[in-house]
């Protein structure tokens, strides 16, 4: 932390959004759309889901009302910030071909941004840093992600009201992020007092706080924020035992449990679409009717589809059980070998949005041979 903790009142939060917009940022924040929390561009804090909470469980998601008028009183929404920095479809290049068969390639440039991401959960913040490792830290980088990411400002929030599918505390990513943000808010509501305790993570964040004239947080305000994080950590709906998880997964590659999962899994790909760390993509070529103009697009893909592993003669992972095993093994085990970190940030989305309620924490517990903690 490069600076002292600050506080903002509701008016301060309003000014923060105005300041970010004045600095040229597109502010992306939680909003309500179609009965769910959805990240979208906002112009003012009036578009935040004020007084909205949520209820989540396996295959269950519902918004609720909160009497306290909290701005960030819900857990992980349907999507993380993944679609902002790593959109589901990205133009890579366009090309034109002449009659002789020669063609020229025009690389795509990025439109939109720079982005200020406001209200990023601890789980989703970690997921961004995981994507940094996956997409920009090795031999080759995703140039579009890198460009968007370089300009992005990250403002996280402490999750004060975790949902029934949350388990960030087990994997150490929340409920209050400890690093990796420019600013990190904890919303504290006590009677008529409504404040945001703001931890400052970077010089850039400090400078914005200075510009807003944010006051230094008092001991009492900081203690109140600590309590919110502590309480939330005790209120996680689920738990994942990470002890020796990699070895557990590798050792169980041929467990009969995969047949059990396969009897329930629909291979619908929902889990991979909502997962903030899943990064698999495909490319699609599109050409016009004359065949003289074409473009190539990078699109999200999923290891749950049969085509994903197709090679001439057949798919490597033909059976649904092998595809579920690939997904969970990648998240909880091989990710560690690949990137030195786990691929699951405990957001619980795959549990909430699975139509048949398959639960990553329960499947891992079943492989371990222990009952899982599902709050019901």
């Amino acid at each position: 932390m490069t600076s002292t903790t600050r506080t903002l009142k509701v008016e301060g939060l309003r000014k923060l959004v105005e300041e970010l917009r004045a600095r040229g940022f597109t502010v992306i924040a939680p909003t309500v759309r179609d009965g769910a929390i959805v990240n979208a561009p906002i112009e003012s804090i009036d578009q935040l889901p004020r007084g909205v909470g949520d209820q989540q469980d396996a295959a269950h998601y519902r918004l609720t009302e909160r009497a306290d008028g909290a701005y960030f009183g819900y857990a992980a929404g349907a999507q993380s910030m993944k679609p902002v920095l790593f959109p589901a479809e990205e133009l890579l290049w366009r090309g034109k071909r002449d009659a002789a068969g020669a063609f020229t390639v025009q690389p795509a440039s990025n439109e939109g941004g720079p982005y200020a991401l406001l209200g990023v959960r601890g789980c989703d913040l970690k997921a961004i840093h995981i994507h940094d490792a996956v997409l920009t830290s090795r031999g080759f980088s995703d140039a579009h992600y890198a460009a968007r990411r370089a300009g992005a400002l990250l403002i996280s929030v402490t999750c004060g009201s975790p949902a029934g599918t949350c388990f960030c505390a087990s994997v150490g990513t929340g409920p209050r992020p400890s690093e990796g943000y420019d600013l990190s808010l904890t919303e504290v509501i006590k009677g008529s007092s409504h404040t945001f305790v703001v931890a400052v993570g970077t010089e850039r964040g400090a400078e914005i706080m200075d510009a807003l004239g944010a006051s230094t947080a008092s001991e009492a305000e900081m203690a109140a924020a600590d309590d919110i994080a502590k309480d939330a950590a005790l209120n996680m709906g689920r738990e994942l035992n990470t002890d020796g998880l990699k070895y557990l997964m590798y050792a169980n590659a041929e467990s009969s449990h995969w047949d059990d999962v396969a009897s329930r899994c629909l291979s619908c790909t929902n889990c991979t679409l909502v997962c903030p760390t899943c990064f698999c993509t495909s490319v699609e070529d599109v050409s016009d009717l004359t065949g003289q103009e074409a473009s190539r697009h990078r699109v999200w893909d999923s290891c749950f589809s049969e085509d994903f592993s197709y090679i001439h003669g057949g798919s490597v992972r033909e059976s649904p059980r092998s595809r579920y095993r690939q997904w969970i093994t990648h998240k909880l085990a091989s990710w560690e070998d690949q990137f030195g970190m786990t691929g699951c940030v405990g957001c619980g989305r795959c549990i909430t949005w699975c139509p048949v309620g398959i639960d990553i924490t329960a499947e891992a517990a079943a492989l371990r041979g222990t009952p899982s903690k599902a709050r019901k």
Binding site: R97, F103, R298
Partner: protein
Amino acid sequence: MTSTVSRSGAVAADPMVPRTFTLLSTHADTRDTFTLELEPTDGVRLEFRAGQFTMLSAFGIGEVPISISGSPIEDGPLIHTIRSVGGVSNAIVTSAPGTQLGVRGPFGTSWDVTDAKGGDVVIITGGIGLAPLRPAILELLAERDQYNRVVLLYGARTPEDILFGDEMRKWADRLGMTVEVTVDNGPHGWKGRVGFVTQLISRASFDPAQTIALVCGPEVMMRASANELRQRGVPAGKIRLSMERNMKCGIGLCGHCQLREHFICADGPILTYEVLAPLMQKWEL
């Protein structure tokens, strides 16, 4: 190579954007396999190591991984040998000379055949699998006296499917390579061997303690070959296999080619049997 990012949001040096190469010629090797010579439109030769591949695209149709089959040590065009099996490969092999194709790469690991200097080299392959090995063969034959025995065991479905037949004869007759060819199905009049290439391993002449083995083919064939080699006493760490997986990027980003913790495009395609054995033994990994 990492990409540079400019503040304006422009994307520089995107490794997903291909270079263009002009097709100089296409030669039919067999009824379904063709060797293509390609020249970079920007004049910059594509340097590569034996065993590496490119992501090759037909404009507006698609992009597929194809190994380089030319010489890594001699100057010349980019050479690919392609079996037409579906949409993209067919569009590439039927392109008219003068057509431009998209090329990204080279990507992936190498056969590193020069490690075998002073010892024996056994090459086991079948069908189109000879194409990715040709650069390694050319590399070692160029310094033939640096190696002891050099053995090529090659299998094809039928005599008509034998790839680089004339060249194999030259390697055997003039360049000091032992070449054994077998076919799965021999018609009347075929005087050569009939049977699977893996059956040639037990009788082949090499010193298992001083051998590097290079294997490329369908996974069942590679597993059987590796088992035979192990039985002969070749250490698993000296058996190199070229793995085939679906590949959409070639650079470790799309996730398609994963074999548990390995990105086959970047950590492979060539990996040792020591690394692969425990993974190849599990179903549908």
